[in-house]
Amino acid sequence: MPLITCEGVSFAYEGKQVLNNLNFQVNKGDYLCIVGENGAGKSTLVKGILGLKEPESGRIAFEEGLKPTEVGYLPQQADTQRDFPGGVFEIVLSGRLNSRGIKPFYSRTDKEIAMENLRALGIEDLKKKCYAELSGGQQQRVLLARALCATSKLLLLDEPVTGLDPKMTSDFYSLVRELNEHGITIIMVSHDLAGALTNADHIIHLGKSSHFFGTLDEYRESSLGKEFLGREV
């Protein structure tokens, strides 16, 4: 059974439709990339999957056993407060909150998991730093560590490489690929088509009139894909 099933989903803002009749499935271990033009509804779709925005029609269903508290999310950088007075460790640790329930304080296990994720992303040395003082790439890693604290199953990344330089971008991609190889399902929205095509195994292309959903190879053969790729590459 697929991890996420999306059937005939449409989204609208104040009556204006941004996404129409979309169908797709995400299976465990997939690496799905959502591409498309500006305003095609990529971020809206992510918000829909996360339950931040209700679809106007259709349904988005999670496999039984996948609760909202088991999803990790890396928001667009512009959405977070870059000058926030917070320490790196407390921010990463806040990813563990969703498993705490009503309990007010973090346990030793929570702190260990947070530490493990800092180590996994190679930013243990930032542990005691302040978030506001970090570079864009470092902040990105901190937020990714937080997302990993929140999940071991599904990770949604919204435009993760925007604002990163080419070196950081390729580092970031190999990091995500590694996570994927460890069994975490990845859903990524990206402007960076080249990056998407070298990493993902499934593609959703949101077009103005039609959508595409399929594997990477199918996408290369599809008319939508050919048109989009022909223009970009």
Binding site: G51, L52, T69, V71, P85, S94, R100, P104, Y106
Partner: protein, 270 residues
């Protein structure tokens, strides 16, 4: 120092100091979250609503705090929800609420027969406003605010830093926003009679902003904000006692001075 001890001889000043210090702590704690969530104006909006509620409560001879706390809570919840999805944006809604509530309050006072209280007392606060019962209620409620804040500290941190992430990962953010609204309305209503409708939001905004000049971590911002808030309140009351100036205004003047010193310090350190 002698003047300070002399000041403490007066029972009404003792009451004012006890309640004021507790409310200052609450306001400073909540202020950090409110300022970072871009809700700095909420204190102003709520105090105006509180003013209208107080005026109506006096007109009908009911217990003022029992009326104004629930009314403010509704207003606070309404203001916090607005940013999510609405055609009127948060700042515009606050402006509407402020002037609307003020008008209702002033109308009520002017239509009520035999009301001797000066509108000025409401607007700029009075240190004499605290009765013995008020003190008990204020002490109890501010302790509740502090306990709840401590208990939900980590959640409030998460909701302040990144509400979308918290919501997406299954934290009941609406619930915590409501908690923030509840705590803020209690604090505003308790503080507004001493500080005045027009000046209460200074208790929420100044200590938090001042602490953010120098501190880079959430907890240290909160800690410094609380300490500053108490110090500023006590010095304000002291100045007000020595120079016979209105309490609320004296506190705000101290707030401004401390803020400028911290801002200058930060500039020099860079």
């Amino acid at each position: 120092m002698n003047t300070f001890i002399e000041m403490l001889q007066y029972p009404f000043l003792q009451r004012a100091l006890i309640v004021g210090i507790l409310i200052s702590i609450c306001a400073a704690l909540l202020g950090v979250s409110l300022v970072l969530k871009r809700y700095s104006m909420i204190g102003d909006g709520l105090s105006h609503v509180g003013f209208a509620a107080l005026a109506i409560a006096y007109a009908f001879n009911t217990a003022p705090l029992m009326v104004s706390i629930p009314v403010c809570l509704v207003a606070a919840f309404f203001l916090l929800r607005l940013t999510e999805n609405s055609k009127i944006k948060g700042d515009a809604a606050t402006a509407l609420l402020c002037s609307g509530a003020l008008a209702i309050g002033v109308m009520t006072i002017s239509l009520t027969q035999g009301m001797n209280t000066d509108v000025c007392n409401y607007m700029f606060g009075s240190i004499l406003a605290m009765s013995r019962e008020d003190v008990y209620l204020s002490v109890a409620l501010s302790i509740v605010v502090m306990i709840l804040y401590g208990f939900f500290y980590h959640k409030l941190f998460a909701v302040t830093f990144d509400e979308q992430f918290a919501k997406a990962t299954g934290i009941k953010t609406n619930w915590y926003n409501m908690l923030l609204a509840l705590l803020t309305s209690i604090t505003v209503v308790l503080g507004m009679r001493m500080m005045g409708t027009l000046l209460i939001s200074s208790l929420i905004v100044f200590p938090a902003l001042t602490a953010m000049r120098v501190c880079k971590r959430f907890f240290s911002v909160i800690l410094l904000s609380g300490i500053l808030s108490i110090a500023e309140f006590v010095s304000g009351v002291y100045i007000s006692y020595v120079f016979s100036t209105p309490t609320g205004a004296s506190i705000v003047i101290v707030d401004i001075a401390v803020f400028m010193i911290f801002a200058l310090y930060r500039r020099l350190m860079k």
